[in-house]
Symmetry: C2
Subunit: 220 residues, 2 copies
């Protein structure tokens, strides 16, 4: 086989290095490696779309993506890492999609709420996938912090985009943090059947008021 290796490197710890930050730093990945990685993520999302968290079984992911179990673990050091990476992947999609149709609301709060509800509706279309990703995210321990943080940053970016504020104040950033907290926790209550879709909507709208409360132009 001719064209196999493109990117050379002395640094070659695929998993640890690669998983740490999706695209940015240190991805000296061969084409075939990149392809494997995609196959794995695809299989993960596919299995998750059926049975949710429990249905994503490492042996099955390995088989579906035509990779040995050991290799799967080299790319993603645990099931949680795999699912969080899957979420990163899905979030990028989402962000792209959302960018295309910016929210219409008058106030920043309305736009953020609208954006989150749009994301929520997308999740409702694949509730099992949502289950797998969100459960992994909140169950992640310290060893997954970098990846979870990346997801958090991506989420923050989406919200700030929706706000349409170039220079958010510290208070607004605090509000955004709280919104993220609420978003995650509300999703969990929905996924575990303890809150209805309507209730999640209310919670999102409620927390989004914090934005206008802290907006430099709207008040004070």
């Amino acid at each position: 086989m001719p064209a196999e290796a493109k990117v050379s490197a002395k640094v070659n710890k695929v998993a640890k290095v690669e998983a740490r930050a999706a695209a940015p730093a240190s991805p000296p990945l061969t084409e075939r490696q990149e392809a494997r990685r995609r196959r794995i993520l695809h299989a993960s999302a596919q299995l998750a779309s059926r049975g949710g968290f429990d249905a994503v079984q490492m042996r099955e992911v390995a088989e579906s993506s035509q990779v040995a179990l050991g290799t799967l673990y080299r790319y993603f050091p645990s099931k949680i890492h795999l699912l969080v990476a899957t979420m990163q992947d899905q979030l990028e999609h989402m962000h792209g999609t959302l960018r295309k149709k910016p929210p219409q609301g008058e106030t920043a709060a309305e736009r953020v709420a609208e954006t989150l509800m749009r994301a929520f509706r997308a999740l409702q279309r694949e509730p099992h996938l949502a289950d797998a990703m969100v459960r992994a995210l909140t169950f992640a321990d310290r060893s997954v912090s970098p990846e979870v943080d990346q997801v958090s940053r991506q989420t923050t970016a989406i919200i700030l985009d929706a706000m349409g504020q170039e220079n958010p104040t510290p208070q607004q950033l605090s509000a955004v943090r709280v919104i993220e907290h609420t978003w995650h926790s509300a999703l969990i209550t929905w996924l575990s059947g303890r809150a209805s879709i309507a209730q999640v909507k209310i919670d999102i709208e409620t927390v989004c008021r914090l934005i206008d409360l802290t907006a430099p132009d709207t008040r004070k």
Copy 2:
């Protein structure tokens, strides 16, 4: 042995029935059963206080509490059930403790924030235990909904107590929901090392503003 059975019953499914609602409905438990249950919860909390979630291993809990593994599973149908029950137990303590010294703040928001920070400091004293309980709580699936709901109600009660409002408005109840979301999620970010104690404090204070924003007397 003479005095063993006190409460008689035809309904005797310990686990399912008993776990469903801590004290209220259907606890026809023998003294020895009650003692076993306590031993189990105690062992659970003890193990959790060391290594956190992972250190609570069902075999060890069974051994520590001098109960067969099968019996442990009869009392608590899964590790998650066990840890959520442990949390219920701890929460009751906490509520009792908090009741004694009501918060001093001027506004409802201040009092709630103060109360939550007090709870937070208590958790900081046993970070591993906190880890076990909170992780279990957010990882719980539908099969644990009733128990998780009970924890949620207890938390709501604590917050409403701190507010000192007898008849909260619907908006205030919404605010309380959001506060709970933030509380749980902020704890998780702290436990997984992604947020500092100071950051959690800020998040709590930020979300608590929602209360005054919706207070019937403070505004409008």
